[in-house]
Subunit: 393 residues, 2 copies
């Protein structure tokens, strides 16, 4: 894997780059749609290409439990299994083991847990996670880390961080596949000094890229952006920086400005399936009665398959009628909006006008910023209204 920074923005920490993987090049900053169980819900590989997806994410925990990583290896690996020949990143499953599984017990050795599917007992270790991810054969594997819920006290975070660092070291030692990159993960909760410490420890082990984990866990946006800023600044400028599980439109703008190169989030797909549709003026809920007669597309400026062919009235009808096709059309639109947003962000970075782009982004949503401050720094202008942002994921 090779990562090249092509341009650094003058007034922010943002940069555009290119990430070369075994299955192709990703222009960064990029958003990765989530295909947890080897499928981006409702969407074909062909449609993923059409909406502009460059790289997708799958989940080692889910695929280990079902259908099993050995089966996927036997069938030629994840790319062939799901017929997606572009780049894939697999999440290690640390987050899922601790959030989804039952009776999870974490020791220095690893995590013992019961499957959320059938209650069967499993033992996950850094070594096992590497074995699973090598069998899946994604372009990028993630280290196995410990994830904490928010809020967590320093007394909880510090030993957990030590464990995450030790696990990262063990992953580094056993990872073998030369065609697969391995990313380390920074933890440290909402403590700036611990974020810094975690970053230094993980970087000293040495990985192909670095992820910021343990954010967007309920800490709120201002604190999340602050932690991203701290952690990002501690990571080597020559390596890709990946912010895990974050990807609402405003987060993409804010965190690209803080130097993030890769994002993933279930938001656009889950929002699509629950009727929340992205527009350049904010989100709409398609089931609302006001859309009954609307002949226009979701967003007149959008060039996706959905907007080119279907009215809001039709999408509302499909949603109200529980028609499968509606879930897909909504998802296609939301994914297209995010890849289009990333394209615009890359252009703004290349043209050194990301701060102006950010102002216009909020202005289209009816949100004014509280000051004239730039994006990065402790004087960050906060949106005065969270109106257009208050959508549960």
């Amino acid at each position: 894997m090779e990562f090249r920074v092509l341009h650094r923005e003058e007034r922010t920490a943002a940069r555009v780059g290119q990430l070369q993987t075994t299955h192709g090049v990703i222009n960064t900053p990029a958003f990765m749609p989530v295909g947890t169980q080897a499928s981006v819900k409702g969407i074909s590989p062909q449609e993923l290409r059409e909406v502009g997806a460059q790289m997708i994410l799958a989940n080692a925990y889910h695929l280990y439990l079902r259908p099993g990583h050995e089966l996927i290896r036997e069938l030629g690996g994840l790319h062939r299994f799901m017929a997606w020949d572009g780049p894939i990143l697999t999440d290690s499953g640390g987050y899922q083991v601790m959030s989804l599984a039952a009776n999870c017990t974490v020791t220095d050795d690893g995590a013992e847990f019961k499957s959320h599917l059938d209650g069967s007992l499993h033992h996950m270790t850094p070594e096992r996670s590497m074995e699973i991810q090598e069998a899946l054969g994604a372009d990028v594997a993630m280290v196995f880390d410990e994830c904490l819920a928010f809020p967590a006290s320093r007394e909880v975070v510090e030993p957990s961080m030590r464990r995450t660092t030790a696990w990262a070291q063990r992953c580094r030692e056993v990872h073998r596949r030369p065609d697969q990159a391995l990313f380390g993960i920074i933890q440290g909760a909402h403590y700036p000094d611990l974020r810094q410490k975690s970053a230094r420890e993980i970087v000293s082990i040495g990985f192909d890229g670095y992820a910021i984990g343990g954010v967007s866990v309920g800490e709120g946006k201002p604190l999340m952006y602050e932690m991203v800023e701290y952690a990002s600044a501690e990571l080597p400028e020559s390596s890709p920086k990946y912010l895990m599980g974050v990807g609402l439109p405003e987060d993409l703008v804010e965190c690209a400005a803080r130097g993030i190169d890769l994002f993933d989030c279930v938001a656009p797909t889950r929002h699509g399936r629950t009727g929340w549709l992205y527009t350049t003026a904010g989100r709409i809920q398609i089931k609302n009665a006001k859309h009954i007669h609307e002949e226009e597309p979701i967003d007149a400026a959008c060039g996706c398959y959905t907007c080119r062919h279907f009215s809001r009235a039709y999408l509302r009808h499909l949603f109200i009628s529980c028609e499968l096709f509606g879930l897909r059309l909504n998802t296609i639109h939301n994914l297209h909006m995010l890849t289009q947003l990333m394209r615009e962000i890359r252009e703004a970075i290349n043209g050194d006008y990301l701060d102006e782009f950010r102002g216009a982004f909020y202005a289209r949503r009816g949100i004014t910023l509280s000051g004239d401050e730039g994006i990065v720094g402790s004087t960050l202008g906060q949106p005065t209204s969270q109106r257009a942002l208050e959508v549960p994921v």
Copy 2:
């Protein structure tokens, strides 16, 4: 609308033809996928083209209740609403009023019923059905008829048939749209003489085409095929003959041989969503454990999108994991299998070898016929094993 018979098979009642509608030409015999609520479940208009669908069906009862025919007219009609520019046929809703709605009371005037969606009271008449179907704007509208459950005694069938004929007359009188054809519907349950009487009455009114209704309601295949044969023989050779609600693979073969030109059925789409997949050797249930490791496609001879890209193992994984994409891939495959079967049937008719084709069709499914008899006639060879046919729709 124009219908031309291009070739009549020598030894059966089968024929190939072309049906010219406002939105295009259909090569017959043809199978119409069902898009009840203005969407063939899970499938895009583009995919309908790719699987070889020539004409689709939508349902006036469902669309009248939701989103309302006035809304669809206002938005430019059904074709534009659902972005399908090919031919559409709308079922009148007679069957749905009597099977789906609650508290249905039928009088000579029409049917009073409560919506299955919200219990609201509605009154449907032949005139109202024509108004609704003209608003929807399909290429072919169906008369409003009374449908009976099986078995029905002669005492019930005779007055019902009189009503259906009177309603057909009223539909004929009020139907106005010159760009929309109107088909009559033959009833008569499982009484050959009543089928004959119904056919003569409906034909004497004069329609652009004729449908055989009230079949596949629990009477069993031998009786169904017999009734289709009687009714089909009574219909004018110069008009299209449409068998309503029938469309399992074996039914298509048997009834094309009896002169049927158009079919519709929810089977391929519903089977797809419930994991029953069609192969040239019969049906498989994709969730069965024996498919866990199967790298091959559903059917090696199939050229559909699903078979070109995905293994049975992947489709099983998607199905077991409740992934939306699996429902769509299964549906694409089943629809493609039926349009491919219709293509082969048309070729067999053109080449005057439909009887041999039928024998080979059953042989591939491990079914031998009880005699050397031809398809049409009272000596019809019945499959000795219903094994491969026993799948609930």
